[in-house]
Every structure is written in structure tokens, then in C-alpha cells.
Amino acid sequence: MITYYLRSATKSLFRNRILTALIIVAIAFGIGASMTVFSVFRTMSGDPIPWKSAQLFVPRIDTRPPDKRRDGVPDLLSYQDVMALRRAKIVARQTPLYTLALHLIPEDINLLPLHVVGVAVDRDFFHLFDVPFRYGSPWTVESGDDRSDVVVIGKRLNDRLFAGKDAVGQSLNLDGTHYRVVGVIQDWNPQPRLYNLLNSPYGDSEDFFIPFNTAVEHKIAPRGFTSCSNAWSERLGAVCTWILFWVEATTPSDAQHYRDFLANYSLEQQRLGRFSWLPSASLSNARDWLEEKNIVPTETRLSLILAFGFLTVCLVNGVVLMMAKFLSRNRETAIRRALGATRRDVFSQFLVEAGVIGALAGLLGLGLTAVGLAIEKSMLPQEMARVTALSPAVIGMTFGLAVFATVCAGLYPSWRGSIVEPAVQSKT
């Protein structure tokens, strides 16, 4: 039966060709526009490591006096607090993190130093964020590497300096210090850059990773927004905040344990006389943190609303035109009814026709989405351009949405088309 419906639906596409084309093109444009914007939005607002993010937490300690606590909770911690959390080792894996920029001094005397951006972390960083290694491995604590001049480099830098070959054991001159390469990571670039959201959420991953202890030892200043002045001694104190801290709590009870620890820590700091008030400590899950940071720009949200508004109009347009298309066949419907087709038969037949229209609109919409993404890519600022791609998921969603939306839009016209009385129309 369904093959018959499909055949007759395909046939009837060619009746009222202009009307059919209008419906298909309009819905395709609606689908193309909304899927283009939606796929950009989805990547930009997405969770880059969904399998891991529920277990990752950012502890925060708001040390400001209660009457000065405005504009949300500060994300960064002071050196003293970071060291206390790090020493306590309440969870198995944790890492401090700060962004730094150094100059790679080339062997070639004629070349200017190259500006490279990296982060200072503990070795657990690579485990926390599932960083894949191409060569070598993270530095180890046992060998004392976590406080020596070692570096893990990103794929881009490895390609540039060592033509993508195994660089483990090679030496890099960064700001005059020679670092030994212990690992090279694979192509790894989670978007948004969850682990370092505060320093441009979209963009390339870092060129290099060095041990936190080593960075502090060399007094390498943090990049990006911090509350510190340029004096290094101030950075090692308890006042100015410049380090992000990550912990992994694999079970809810671990997380609760950590919360209790933070609360105790705050109480203790007050008792020790560091503050005359109680610092407010909290532990945020990575997903909530991402949501709280609200990194998706207004422009993208606006475009999303607009695109779905446009799709709605296209679908209403589809309802109107399908009404016209189906109702103009009243005479034929009446004859079918007179020959024994039930209302239900006629209704399903119209609905199958809507589905066929939707499938065609989906195909066209898919092409338009591809075009839209290409345009979007050329218009977005560079650091966001790479988040747009036509993935299999987007292809499936585009097609599914087109068929589903068109069938929904076809419900009312199909019903109206099917309530024809057999007798009335066949009289003439």
C-alpha cells in the first residue's frame, strides 16, 4: 500500500508544478538557514568532552569581603590557595593552569624569535582532558621532571619545527632556557576550549605545555586577565589571583568530599586571621561552569532566533500552499471516496505526499546548508571559523527536520483534504 501511496504522491508532485516547487523551495530555504545557524550554535555552545565533563570541577574561593561580591564568582585563585589545594590532594588528579607566552629562539641567527603561547600545568592535565599523545608521554613526577625544564609540544609546533617527526629528546630554546621535549600531542583542539575558557574560548590549542613548578621557578608571567600587578613577589602571595584550578571527582561522593574540604579550608583561613569574614568557596562542574560563562556571543543567539523564525514562516507558508494543493483536488478525492477509499486512506495518502515534499525539501535544504556553512566560514572571525563543518550528525538532522516539519505542516491540509463528502462532489 505504501509503495502505491509513494508512487501516486510522486505523480501528483507534477500537478500544480509551480505550487509544488514553491512549497519545496520555501521549506528548503527555511531548513538551510536554520540548520546553518544551528550547526554553528551547537558547536559553539557544545560540551567538547561530554564523556568527561561531568567529572571535572573548578574549585573557586571568593575571598572578597561579602559587601564587595558582585559580578559573579571569580574563577582564578591566588598562588597560596592553589598551593594549599594542591598539597591537600583530596582527589587523585588535579592541575593548576595558567596561560603564558614565550619566544622560541631559532637556531638560525637571521630569524626573529617566534611568539608561542602555552599553558603551565601539572601532569594530570593530560589525563583530565584526555589529551592524546603522538610521541612520548607527559612528564613524570617520580623522575623529578615536574620541576625541570621539559616541554610537551602541540602538533602544529611539531609540524613546523620538526616536520611532524618524533621530536622527543630534542631541545627547544624558549626565552633563553633550553627545554627538553618529552612528548608531542596529536591533533587535539576541543572547541570551545573548556580547559582554558577564560583566554579566548574558540581558537587553536596551545603550542606547548610546561610543568607548573618549572614556570613558577622561571618566574614566567601569566597572560590574559589577572588581578596581579607586574611584581613577581605579589604573584606568589595570597591576594592577587591568576591561576585556574581543575580537579577530577569521579563519583558524586568525591565531589561532596571536596566541597566539604573547601568549606573547611575557608573556615580555617578565617580562623587563622587571613580574613575577618568567611570566604565563599564553591565547586562547579565543568558543564555548569561552561553554561555560566555564557560564551556564545549575542550575535549567534540572535541569528539562531531569526533562523528558526524564518523556518516557522516557511512552514506556515507550506501549510497554506499545501492547503491549496490538496483542496484543489477535491473532485478527485470525492471520486476516490465514492469508489470506497476511507477518509483515513485519503488522509494517509496526503500525508505521504507531504513526506515526499519534505524529503525533496530536505535534499535541497542540505545543499543550501552546505552553501550557508561555507559562507558563514568566510564571514566569521578567524578563531570561530573552524567550528563550522557539515558533519554526518548535521546531515541527518537537516534531512530529519525537513521531513518531520513538512509532515507536521501537512497534517491540517491533509485532514481538510480528506473530509470531502463523496456524493457532493461527484454530482456534477
Partner: protein
């Protein structure tokens, strides 16, 4: 009389008429809000910066440790830059207009104010900066070489003298007399020795655009030679020699002293294009979608009207046979369309206002002026009339004799 018969006619197509009116309402709602946002962004993009944009370029310089005598190295660099071929003038600074980075802070007219009177960007400049930027001094004087002392990029206790922009002067001293008055960026007073017509702020990292826009023309110029290991060199090229001058200055600096990194090399047109890229892409996206939306709605009206013409062939023939002129038939369809689109537009106006209110709350968008809604309504009404014209003409061409044949 005719109106009554049109309304009666429409009552036979309640659902379809209501649907097309709904489509018009949604179209109006989207188009007027989009028009508003597009206009808002275009105005934003067009804001003047106050500087000589065409010949302006900049790059970041970072000294490698050990720094040695930074002051002497920077002065040496500046001498090299100012004599570089194609370079008209140059200076070292902490930030550039529209460029990401730089500093800003609260300004007061009294010492130790609880809340700042205004926010302003703080630029560290020297005696060459006026010529380099190409800004216009409207009152007072520019910094003399004797005013320039070694400084870092924090404002410390406050500089003793400053030059401010006209916008900031008006904001801080609405009654005038800004020149010679004191402002406070630290605990010490800073005397205003000059006022420049306009100089816009850099883009501060992490500060949302609406907040940035609220003090876009508030800038304070602080005299000093910036001695830091990382800062910007800005140059003004001789007319038409910008790109060559930018290359030459980098090359000469590298030859002069290699222990440095140079990056973030930009010409001002590139900075301008990059900083307004999202605005421009949003404006073009909204315009494109609006055009498509109007096209879809227009074609929808054509499609539906054609269908109605087909349905009404006999009645139209009868009317024609009874003496209705072609123009009467066209008028019939036009009035019918006007009624439907008019109802849709009325609903759409309310919908547009509600949508804007919602966006004001959710996305900190400004309130939409009523002119955008009216423009939107005019657009859909005209669109409706244009769209119905072709089907109406076809209806009018139905011969009167058709009436007799159908029976």
C-alpha cells in the same frame, strides 16, 4: 458594499486566510526586528575613530630576557622607527583604538570618589603621538618633550597632567571649563592641559560590547615613555606608503636588535575590519534572511491567490457578464489582500513589540523605535499588493462568456 461581499467571501476560507495572515504577522515581526538590529549595527560600524586611519599601522614588540637597559633600547628603537623610510612618525604605547588590549578605568572629578563619574580608556603617549595618530587638538596644548618621563602601564597614583577627549570632558564637566580642571584616576589630581576632538577606546578583553559602547569616545591620554618588556609600536606612514613602511620598520628593528619578538602586525583598516567583522556578518545575514523571508511570503501570497482565482473562475465570469469591469476584479483581489495582510500586520506589530521586549530582557538589546515596526508594516502591505497583482490580472482576464460555459 463591496467590502461586505469581500468579507463574506473570505469567511468561506477562514483557515487559509488566517494562516496567510499569521504568516504576514510573523514576517513583519521578524523583518522589523531585523531591520532594527541591522541599522543599529551599521551605525556602530560607521563610528569615526578620530585618527588618521588610512596611514596607521601597528605591531607588538616583546623584549627577551635579560632586558638590560630597557629604556635605552626603547629610545633607540623609536629613533630607528622615526627615521625609517616611509614612516612619518611613531611612538610606543599600551593600546590602540579598536584594537584588543589596552587599559581602562574609572575617572572621578573629586578625590576618592565611591563610584566613578565615568569610565575611560587610558593611553600612554608621548610628544609624537598627536602627529602619529592624526588626532585634532581643539583646546589647550599637546605634551611637550619635557612632559615625557619613564612610566609603566599602571596608572599609579595618577599622572600630574592629562589630555582628554571632548566626549569625556562633556561627561565630566557638563558646564564646560574642563580645560585646566583636575580629574582623578588615582589618588593624585591630574590637570587637564588639552582636549582632543575624538579618540575612541581599544576593545577591552572580556568586556561585553554594550558596556564598551557606553564609553566608546572616553579616552585619557597620559604622557610617558612606556618602559615594559611588551608593548605596541604604532606608526603613521607617509601617505600611500603604509604597507612598505610597516615592512621596513620591522626589518630595521630586527637588524637593530635581534633579542625580541615582533607579532600582531596590523594595518588599521585590517583592525577595523576584524573588530567589526561580527557586526558586518550579522547585518548581512539578517538582510539576506529578510530578503528570503519577503520572497517566501510574497510567493506564498501569489500561490494562494492563484489558487483562489482558479476556484472562483465561474463567479468572476458571472460578475464580468453582469457588467463588472476588469479593474473591478483587480480591485476586488487587491482589497481582499489588503484586508488579510492588514489584519496580519496589526497582529504582527504587537508581535514585533513583544519580541523586541523579550530580546531587550534576554539579550540586553536596545529598545526598538516605533519607526522600524511602521517600516515593517509598510513593507508587508506593499509586498502583499505587489504579490497579488499578477493573479488578480489573470482573474480579470477571465472572459464574461466563461459564466455561461460553466453551467
Amino acid at each position: 458594499m463591496e467590502l461586505l461581499s469581500i468579507v463574506t467571501g473570505l469567511r468561506r476560507h477562514k483557515a487559509t486566510s488566517a494562516l496567510i495572515a499569521l504568516q504576514v504577522a510573523l514576517t513583519l515581526c521578524i523583518v522589523s526586528n531585523a531591520l532594527f538590529v541591522v541599522h543599529d549595527r551599521l551605525v556602530r560600524i560607521d563610528r569615526p575613530t578620530g585618527i588618521d586611519e588610512a596611514d596607521f599601522a601597528m605591531f607588538r614588540n616583546e623584549w627577551l630576557a635579560p632586558h638590560g637597559d630597557l629604556k635605552a633600547r626603547i629610545q633607540g628603537d623609536l629613533a630607528v622607527l622615526r627615521s625609517a623610510p616611509g614612516v612619518a612618525d611613531a611612538y610606543a604605547t599600551n593600546g590602540a583604538p579598536l584594537y584588543v588590549g589596552g587599559g581602562a578605568g574609572g575617572v572621578g572629578t573629586k578625590p576618592n570618589q565611591d563610584t566613578a563619574s565615568a569610565y575611560a580608556a587610558e593611553y600612554i603617549v608621548d610628544d609624537h603621538a598627536m602627529k602619529t595618530l592624526g588626532i585634532r587638538l581643539t583646546e589647550g596644548r599637546w605634551f611637550a618633550p619635557g612632559d615625557i618621563a619613564e612610566t609603566n602601564d599602571s596608572m599609579g597614583d595618577g599622572p600630574s597632567i592629562v589630555i582628554i577627549t571632548r566626549a569625556l570632558a562633556t561627561k565630566l564637566f557638563p558646564a564646560g571649563h574642563a580645560l585646566g580642571s583636575s580629574i582623578y584616576v588615582g589618588k593624585n589630581p591630574s590637570t587637564i592641559i588639552g582636549i582632543v576632538e575624538r579618540l575612541v577606546t581599544p576593545l577591552l578583553y572580556g568586556v561585553p560590547a554594550p558596556v564598551m559602547d557606553s564609553f566608546f569616545e572616553n579616552s585619557i591620554l597620559v604622557p610617558g615613555l612606556l618602559v615594559e618588556d611588551s608593548y605596541l609600536y604604532v606608526i603613521r606612514a607617509q601617505p600611500g606608503q603604509r604597507d612598505a613602511a610597516l615592512l621596513a620598520s620591522q626589518r630595521l628593528l630586527a637588524q637593530h636588535d635581534r633579542a625580541r619578538g615582533i607579532d600582531l602586525v596590523h594595518t588599521f583598516p585590517a583592525i577595523r575590519a576584524e573588530s567589526y567583522k561580527t557586526d558586518r556578518s550579522l547585518a548581512s545575514l539578517l538582510s539576506l534572511v529578510c530578503a528570503l523571508l519577503l520572497l517566501v511570503t510574497g510567493l506564498g501570497i501569489v500561490g494562494l491567490a492563484s489558487y483562489w482565482v482558479g476556484l472562483r473562475r465561474s463567479p468572476i465570469g458571472i460578475r464580468r457578464a453582469l457588467g463588472a469591469r476588469r479593474i473591478d476584479i483587480v480591485r476586488y483581489f487587491q482589497i481582499e489582500n489588503g484586508l488579510i495582510v492588514g489584519c496580519g500586520a496589526a497582529v504582527g506589530l504587537a508581535l514585533a513589540a513583544a519580541t523586541n521586549l523579550w530580546m531587550v530582557q534576554k539579550m540586553a538589546l536596545p529598545r526598538m523605535g516605533v519607526q522600524y515596526a511602521i517600516a515593517g508594516a509598510a513593507i508587508v502591505l506593499i509586498l502583499g499588493q505587489l504579490a497579488v497583482l499578477w493573479p488578480a490580472r489573470r482573474a480579470a482576464s477571465i472572459p464574461p462568456a466563461r459564466a455561461t460555459r460553466a453551467l
